[in-house]
């Protein structure tokens, strides 16, 4: 059986993320003064075949490869 997961990778709170910061500064210049924070992240859509420990494997991949635990955190969402 095929399953689809979305892995969201975000910088941890407290880690300076210059791209989001720059986007926020531009938004302020455009007049969107109410924007308090912008943090840029990335996501991966992964399709897996099989039933055996699938979520565990996705979590392992996220930890080992997709996110760098020193600076990033991740979240896994199953897409139905």
């Amino acid at each position: 059986m095929k399953k689809k997961f979305r892995v969201l990778v975000m910088f941890k709170d407290g880690v300076l993320e210059p791209q989001g910061l720059t986007v926020m500064q531009v938004l302020h210049t455009m007049g969107y003064k109410e924007i308090e924070e912008v943090r840029q992240g990335k996501f991966f859509d992964i399709v897996v075949e099989g039933n055996d420990r699938v979520e565990e494997k996705i979590s392992e991949i996220a930890k080992k490869v997709l996110a760098n635990p020193i600076i990033e955190r991740f979240e896994i969402i199953e897409i139905k």
Binding site: V15, L16, E17, P18, V65, L66, I70, I71
Partner: protein, 230 residues
């Protein structure tokens, strides 16, 4: 005495490094990243470039290359490893060195000569340089903003693992001299044991007077002397 320069798909400073090492009298060979055999090399150099196009995060995909298993073993046995720029990023992503690289604070790719101050000359890579000496060596990177959680940064400092810091021409460590936002102006660090050095500046690009500086040679020369005296 032989150096092995590891070639990943996307390495582009491999030949520059080869010429610099050979110019310093260090016999060098290339090692393809899919090999596992380090071919008896005494010094392993991970050169600069854009391994795997910098996809996902700089250096992360290369850190899973087969040769990295042998390099980890080599590091644990005390073998000399030098990671330059992307090579430094690969050492961080593989966990051989602590920390991570963030995008440069100014979000620009920076390619220019910088000054770095030697903070620790008790490593094999800096043993023939005086502590406090200023080296003129160029940087060329987009992700060189070194980051480490504060608690670990303290440990790094305590263990004297910071080898190079960005400075001005007089050797002063200032914010203006920090090109990328790197914590503590860090430009290069070693592991606890001191046998693995990662640095963002490119010593191979400062190894012949025609290139504008020969300061990079001092690092290769130190390695050579260290290995000869061993």
């Amino acid at each position: 005495m032989k150096a092995g320069i590891v070639v990943f798909p996307g390495s582009n400073c491999d030949w520059d490094t080869y010429h610099a090492l050979m110019g310093c009298g260090i016999e060098s060979i290339f090692l393809w990243h899919k090999e596992r055999d380090l071919k008896g090399c005494d010094l392993i150099v991970l050169p600069g470039g854009f391994s795997y196009g910098d996809y996902l995060r700089s250096g992360v995909l290369a850190s899973f290359s087969p040769i990295m298993d042998s390099i980890k073993e080599f590091a644990e046995k005390g073998g000399l490893i030098l990671g330059i720029c992307n090579g430094f990023q690969i050492l961080l992503e593989s966990g051989i060195l602590p920390g991570a690289m963030l995008r440069n604070k100014g979000l620009r790719f920076i390619c220019k000569f910088v000054n770095i101050r030697v903070e620790n000359n008790s490593t094999p890579f800096t043993k023939d340089i005086r502590k406090g000496d200023v080296l003129k060596i160029p940087i060329a990177h987009m992700d060189g903003n070194y980051y480490l959680p504060y608690s670990e940064l303290e440990k790094l400092k305590r263990n004297n693992q910071i080898v190079f810091r960005y400075c001005d021409g007089k050797g002063e460590i200032t914010d203006e001299a920090n090109p990328n936002g790197s914590m503590e102006n860090i430009a290069g660090i070693v592991n606890e044991r001191g046998n693995v050095l990662g640095m963002m500046p490119h010593p191979e690009r400062a190894s012949f007077s025609i290139l504008g500086s020969e300061d990079g040679r001092k690092i290769f020369q130190s390695c050579l002397n260290y290995l000869r005296e061993r």
